[in-house]
């Protein structure tokens, strides 16, 4: 997850490099640090450096890291020849390297040679059975072949060992959501919130899943988590603001006045609506009237 300032910085460096203003190495280093996936830009700017002997040698030892980064970007862009060339350079410099072996296996994956890639990963795992990158690549391999339940199983086994790997929990949650297995997705988000309670993204995702599951209890809990998202983001998260409005409406529909709403809620919904109106007025005035009618359609009470 990347902050707005980090994203702005990487975008600035990207357009600088795009417009011939240099700074490719700074851009590529930041992309690597933030673990962003921008393969076409990484490929383009990485090759600018690698194809220029002077620029390449000025990198010193970082040259090899760049070859690796470009190889992976090339595979992501399906430029397999470029990837192969980069890997060859690395093989020559670091024969017998496990890290290069991993790249070779990834290239097999990129080519669609599933069985060979699996074999390569398994043999790499023999010497290092706890290599997290390889274990996760095996999950990706299973998913790429369309075996989603197999991917879920491998990922769940991985998480039994590496239960602190937040990205893996997120991936598992997203797979569950794509299969409409919302209860299981909710469990993943619960794990994430337990381990990192101050990250609003998890509260929001959890609320979204609970809202989707529906039913009075889930809707009430969803509302609480939309509210905590609003809290954690200083009221700036429009998804959560909409979420509060949706939950209040849905609960009202379900209960039809048969039971007393908790006291804070009518204020919560009107505060959320007011916050949305304020934001739209300022930043999306052409959509303000659409927002107004949307909020009105959600304020129908029994």
């Amino acid at each position: 997850m990347v902050s707005k300032t980090e994203e702005a910085e990487v975008n600035r460096l990207e357009s600088q490099a795009d417009n011939g203003g240099g700074g490719e190495w700074e851009y590529l280093s930041l992309v690597r640090k933030l673990k962003l996936r921008r393969p076409d830009k990484v490929l383009k700017h990485g090759l600018t450096i690698l194809n220029d002997p002077k620029k390449r040698s000025s990198l010193g030892h970082d040259e090899w890291t760049l070859y690796e980064q470009v190889a992976i970007a090339a595979m992501d862009c399906h430029c397999l020849d470029v990837a192969q060339d980069c890997i060859k350079v690395l093989q020559k410099k670091f024969p017998e390297s496990k890290r290069v072996g991993r790249l070779e296996a990834m290239l097999l994956e990129a080519k669609g040679s599933w069985a060979e890639a699996e074999k390569a990963y398994l043999s790499l795992l023999e010497d290092n059975p706890l290599d997290q990158v390889i274990l996760k690549r095996r999950v990706a391999l299973t998913k790429a072949q369309g075996d989603i339940s197999g991917a879920i199983q491998r990922l769940s086994e991985y998480l039994e060992v590496f239960m602190a790997d937040h990205e893996a929990w997120r991936e598992l949650a997203e797979i569950y959501v794509s299969l409409q297995m919302y209860k299981q997705a909710a469990f993943c988000y619960e794990e994430l919130i337990l381990s990192q309670p101050m990250i609003p993204l998890y509260h929001l995702a959890y609320a979204d899943v609970l809202y989707t599951l529906g039913g009075l209890e889930n809707l009430q809990t969803a509302k609480k988590y939309y509210a905590s998202t609003i809290d954690l983001t200083g009221g700036k998260n429009n998804r959560a603001l909409f979420g509060v409005c949706l939950c209040t409406f849905a609960v009202a529909q379900l209960t039809k006045g048969r039971y007393k709403e908790d006291k804070e809620s009518p204020e919560l919904q009107s505060l959320a609506a007011a916050a949305l109106e304020k934001d739209y007025k300022l930043r999306a005035p052409s959509k303000l009237s659409l927002l107004g009618s949307t909020l009105r359609s959600l304020k129908l009470s029994s």
Partner: protein, 205 residues
């Protein structure tokens, strides 16, 4: 009752959907189709005059979808148009299956319009566009038949999904090579930053 419906998709509606899929190559994307029912009873036509790219993440959750649909129905209702279908592009290149999320959303649209169309991006056809001219849209059409299940239309060779403008694919290829997909905004982008216009009103200017 009437004849089988034909589906005619306008150039801008078509291009927006494909560009959206290309902007988010590593995830599934979806969108809604706007338009109207026309033609005659014997030869009904569903005209898809516009499309709204919706999401590129967490496609299975309901809250953002509900907000989007309320706003979209409100906006287009004022123009006499309604939601006539749904578009989906799968995450993986090889996956040509119409998933359950698409079917569920399709069912919802079907309640108001029995001729509702589900369009699934055909990745192989899209890839082939760069190699050979193609007049047909790079999508597969599914409709609900009498058995109330979503069936692929046209596997018998009949084409009921047509591009309104025959040169739409040429224009699409042009946009692809100029990287136009970078400019597409979807509802996800709008929810993250409301200053982004999900109507894409400036896109084709």
């Amino acid at each position: 009752m009437g004849g089988e419906s034909r589906y005619e998709i306008g150039q801008n509606a078509y291009i927006k959907l494909v560009l959206h899929a290309l902007k988010h190559k590593t995830s599934a994307v979806n969108g809604v189709l706007l338009g109207r029912l026309s033609g005659s009873d014997a030869s009904p036509v569903v005209e898809v005059t516009d499309s709204i790219p919706l999401f590129h993440s967490q496609i299975g959750v309901l809250a953002p979808l509900e907000i989007a649909l309320i706003m979209i129905e409100e906006y287009y209702g004022a123009q006499g148009l309604s939601i006539v279908g749904y578009f989906h592009a799968n995450e993986r290149f090889d996956d040509a299956e119409l998933g359950n999320i698409a079917k569920n959303i399709g069912d919802h649209i079907y309640k108001n319009l029995p001729q509702a169309a589900l369009l699934l991006l055909d990745n192989k056809k899209l890839e082939a566009l760069s190699k050979q001219k193609e007049m047909a849209p790079v999508m597969q059409l599914f409709t609900k038949d009498a058995s109330k299940s979503w069936k692929l239309v046209g596997s018998d060779g009949s084409s009921r999904l047509l591009l309104k403008e025959p040169s739409a694919n040429i224009v699409l290829m042009d946009y692809i090579s100029s990287g136009k997909w970078m400019d597409i905004i979807d509802f996800d982008d709008h929810l993250d930053d409301i200053s982004k216009d999900w109507l894409n009103s400036e896109l084709f200017k």
